[in-house]
Amino acid sequence: MIEVTDLTKTFGPKVAVDNLSFSVKKGEVLGFLGPNGAGKSTTMRMVTGFLPVTSGKIKICDIPMNWRPNAAKKKIGYLPESAPLYNDMTVQGFLKFCASLRGLGGPKRRHAVDEAIETCFLENVARQSIGTLSKGYRHRTCLAQALLHDPEVLVLDEPTDGLDPNQKLEVRKLIKNLGKDKAILFSTHILEEVTASCSRAVIVDQGKIVADGTPAELEAQGGGSLYDLFHKVTTFETPADKSEEPAA
């Protein structure tokens, strides 16, 4: 469903993603693990068609992203890193707007919005203005947006970031459930999430894949602990010039 070959992205002299190849099949949940600044978000922005690639190929359900971006984007639901939202809209209004952009209309749209609200536990705030929501609700609203059109491919950038422990648990369960009949790529730097919801994981460091396998295999590689493996394969010292936020 997601096929990425030799993906590279450079920002000026800086190589953010370096010759990355991986694939996610239907029914698979691929965890994208790595320290901050490893190139996870940049990869996801390319996979979802937001950033153009420097080189390499991306295919979504066999549709090449560079040739038919709109056909490929239709297959994807995407939760961007910072959960961007329009603060002047209500939760329901925002989801309706996104559903319309996804080409849904009439009763189909109403149904899709209701279902997404239910799946992400947003009933209480459906009519509330997004600007007044707490962080957990904001994150879930953006997640709901990604599920509207029941996409075959889900790309989630740190889906549990900023949630409280209960919400984290819910989202992990949700990802696991959705993963049964979708291809999911999600990024995290929380190691427990790999064992909790992934069927496979790759560890990325400085734009390269440094480890790849099922959670059990990775644990075995690290001598029984994912932490030890993570420590061993990733660069510990991050240079000071590596900012989390992309420059304006």
Binding site: P80, S82, D88
Partner: protein
């Protein structure tokens, strides 16, 4: 279709926030004050809206950017551009949708100055075709300034920067054709420069319209500027990502 969706969202954001109401009231007040205080609306003794038109470009060059400064800078700063950029949607539909929503806000604002038209019709017998032509000219100036603001706001994530730069551009475009500056150029024996200034400035095209002399050159001038700005916006939004 997608343009319509974006258009509706933008429009409701203008009207659920105080933006649209503020501009309607402020524009109504200031344009009237300018017409009466500086345009000598009463003393003119002719049934036309000449006094009303005179200072409008100066008012619009500030108010239009103020209404639209957030258009793309907000998408850039809140990163919602990433949502739009990953939807199955052509960027130019989004650019168009936003542009048209701002255009409608100004259409409403301008049409709410109808008491002026009513007043001159009450006082005398103006040529209402000339008045209509004036309104069309004003609306074209609005559209041009909106397009400039759209273009500038695509560059930045800071709405204040977007405001300052677009006001500066609109200001330059308005002032370069102002009679005072043209005369300065003529006095300096730079006749060619004066002619060029008249042509590239917005004032002469606008002035022609307010006297009922809308012509093809003016139409091409406005449409050309608008097209360049909107196409430019599209290119900037695309190239910013690479």
């Amino acid at each position: 279709m997608k343009t319509w969706t974006i258009f509706k969202r933008e429009l409701s954001s203008y009207f659920t926030q105080p933006t649209a109401y503020a501009v309607i009231i402020i524009f109504g007040l200031l344009s009237t004050v300018l017409a009466f205080a500086f345009g000598h609306f009463w003393q003119r003794d002719d049934a036309s809206l000449g006094a009303f038109w005179q200072f409008l470009p100066l008012l619009l060059m500030i108010l239009v950017p103020a209404v639209s400064m957030k258009q793309w800078s907000d998408e850039n700063s809140s990163n919602t551009i990433e949502l739009l950029g990953t939807m199955p949607l052509k960027m130019n539909s989004a650019v168009m949708g936003k542009f048209l929503a701002a255009a409608l806000v100004w259409l409403v604002t301008l049409s709410l100055t109808f008491p002026m038209v009513w007043a001159v019709n009450h006082l005398g017998e103006p040529d209402n075709w000339i008045i209509a032509s004036g309104y069309i000219g004003t609306f074209l100036v609005c559209l041009t300034f909106i397009a400039i603001t759209t273009f500038v706001s695509a560059f930045t994530r800071d709405e204040v920067v977007a405001l300052i730069v677009s006001v500066a551009v609109c200001c330059l475009l308005s002032l370069v054709g102002f009679p005072e500056f043209i005369n300065l150029a003529r006095q300096a024996d730079a006749t060619e420069a004066a002619d060029i200034m008249t042509k590239i400035g917005i004032y002469d095209h606008f002035f022609q319209a307010t006297t009922g002399k809308i012509n093809v050159t003016s139409l091409l001038y406005f449409c050309g500027l608008i097209t360049v700005c909107l196409v430019g916006t599209n290119l900037v939004l695309k190239s910013k990502r690479s």
